[in-house]
Amino acid sequence: MESLLEQYASVVGNEVIDHLKQLANPLKGMKILHINSTKEGGGVAEILNRLIPLKKELGIDAEWEIITGEKDFYQCTKKMHNSLQGNRDDISSSLLAVYESTNLQNFERLGKKLEEADIVFIHDPQPAALLHFCKKRKGKWLWRCHIDVSHPYRPVWKYLREYIKDYDASIWSLSAFVQPLSHPQYLIPPSIDPLSEKNIELPKKEISDFFDSWGIRRNTPIVTQVSRFDRFKDPVGVIQSYRLIQNYVPVQLVLAGGSASDDPEGQEVLQEVKAYAGNDPDIHILELPPDAHRAINALQRGSDIIIQKSLKEGFGLTVTEGLWKGKPVIGGDTGGIKLQVIDHYCGFRVSTPEGAAMRVRYLLKHPGTMKRMGKNARQFVLDNYLITRQLREYLTLIVGLLYGSKEKIELKLPPSLTTGK
């Protein structure tokens, strides 16, 4: 059976894998621990699912743990998430006390691993306070921010900053998100996994079966947004766009969403979306379980245009997934989408429901442009947004951290590993 690295080599080329092996050489045997708050649902869990086995195959002792909490904890962290993305959402002191005590409880459970790890990656605000309780840490700690913090609600950021400032470094998806902190702030955009169930090639029959099972016609253009039911993803705005399109061309809209176990607002937003959609037979609202990866893959592959009209977005993995499947993507002109969708090259960036409607109508009228953009889109992802690039940058960062803040770090190979020709 092929190793994971060999499987990736078939997509990205041997040279990329050899490069990763070289970079991982000085990190062999090192204990690297990732901590987030969910094993299923959401982009962070998806990436960690594959990043950990890849690191292990490169000889790194990588592990992934999650923190757990009660309903109040997730309510608090959801508020934090919303506030960091700009909502004025004050958090009561009682909820903040739950946040702190939950982090303490999780530290008591994970303490030994946290203290012994050489490198600890803490993802997003949920486990950020763990460092505060880890008094005997051995390794370097990094806070990985996956969300758009370009204009945070200050009181909430100020609270969180007290925990973040003590980290050895932080990682952000985009320079525009970076908040002033005195430690090094690395920039690493997230990525997608071309070998995951969500992104592998699928048989044509599986794709058509999926559409048949949901009663979605293949002979009428399909515009799809895949994302959690979250107000920042603007599902209602997408329906408004659809209504501006259907007056001119026949079109079907698919809004497909899973739910993440750390998102208590999902059901509420879903009900709002259903109410707004009414009984329109050409709006298909698909509630998919968090593990419906092949279904989402089939949906994206069978759609004509992918839309991601977010109002705030750290980095929209569904945008990159759509591009990887050779589809033009219409994305909100915000956050990471600015980096993911090159305007007029692999899709369009828009600021309003009207803008999205105009671009969908334009593309449906120009199938040649759609095809050209789709081709550009796939190549763009191959060159820039696959998991191997993200892994390379994580490895580079770790080497960088271990060797200090020098601009240039030169690693020497032991003489036993050199070959001359």
Partner: protein, 219 residues
């Protein structure tokens, strides 16, 4: 003269935010005066090793920002044509950019600015260079090796080399010069490759073509 083998190195680059940003041309000039020298390296060369799309219309990030967001074609064109390789050091390059920006500020009736969200963010980089453990004694062996080289190796030996070799050259030419005049034709072909307006992938193809062409001619 005895020449040592050509040692293949590889490199990876990581971007680091500086927190410095500019919303108009005057702020851009002011920040430029004080930013870490690594920012100039990153915004001129680093883009080749970082997410970008395959149509490098401009040679550096400053020119891209001036064109796309400041909508000032004059300064964008002037910044774009700067060849960083002709400067002996990074401070001379910095002074040249400041000079161009100041000239533009002097002749402008108003200060060009961008809306919030489109500021220029100064980024610096950290580069990790590693020895691949592979070396070649005979230039002919590079014929097979170049198509398989990582883009990091191409960057290191053809781009990064320009800030550490006499005359700002590529590593291949410097190494080949050690064989007296034997490979002058190949050196000339390599020196004639313009590393601007290109991608590392294209650059690898061009270098490969130079080697193939030279040895095909019976040299």
């Amino acid at each position: 003269m005895i020449n040592e083998g050509f040692k293949i190195s590889d490199c990876a680059l990581i971007a680091i935010a500086t927190g410095e940003k500019a919303q108009n041309l005057r702020e851009f000039r002011d920040r430029l005066k004080n930013v870490h020298p690594g920012c100039l390296y990153y915004h001129f060369w680093g883009g080749l090793l970082h997410p970008h799309f395959d149509d490098p219309e401009f040679q550096n990030d400053f020119a891209v920002w001036a064109s796309r967001y400041l909508h000032d074609s004059k300064i964008s064109e002037q910044l774009s044509i700067i060849d960083p390789n002709v400067f002996d050091n990074i401070e001379d390059l910095r002074n040249e950019i400041i000079e161009i920006v100041e000239k533009r500020l002097f002749e402008s009736e108003h200060i060009p600015w961008v809306k919030t969200g489109h500021e220029f963010h100064f980024i610096r980089s950290q580069i990790v260079i590693f020895d691949t453990g592979v070396s070649y004694a005979d230039p002919r062996d590079l014929l097979e090796a170049i198509p398989k080289m990582s883009l990091g190796s191409i960057f290191f030996h053809f781009i990064d080399s320009r800030r550490r070799t006499p005359g700002n050259r590529n590593d291949f030419s410097v190494w080949l010069s050690g064989f007296d005049d034997k490979y002058n034709g190949l050196i000339e072909a390599l020196d004639n490759i313009d590393p601007s307006f290109t991608t590392l992938n294209e650059l690898r193809q061009e270098i490969n073509f130079a080697f193939k062409n030279y040895f095909k001619e019976g040299n």
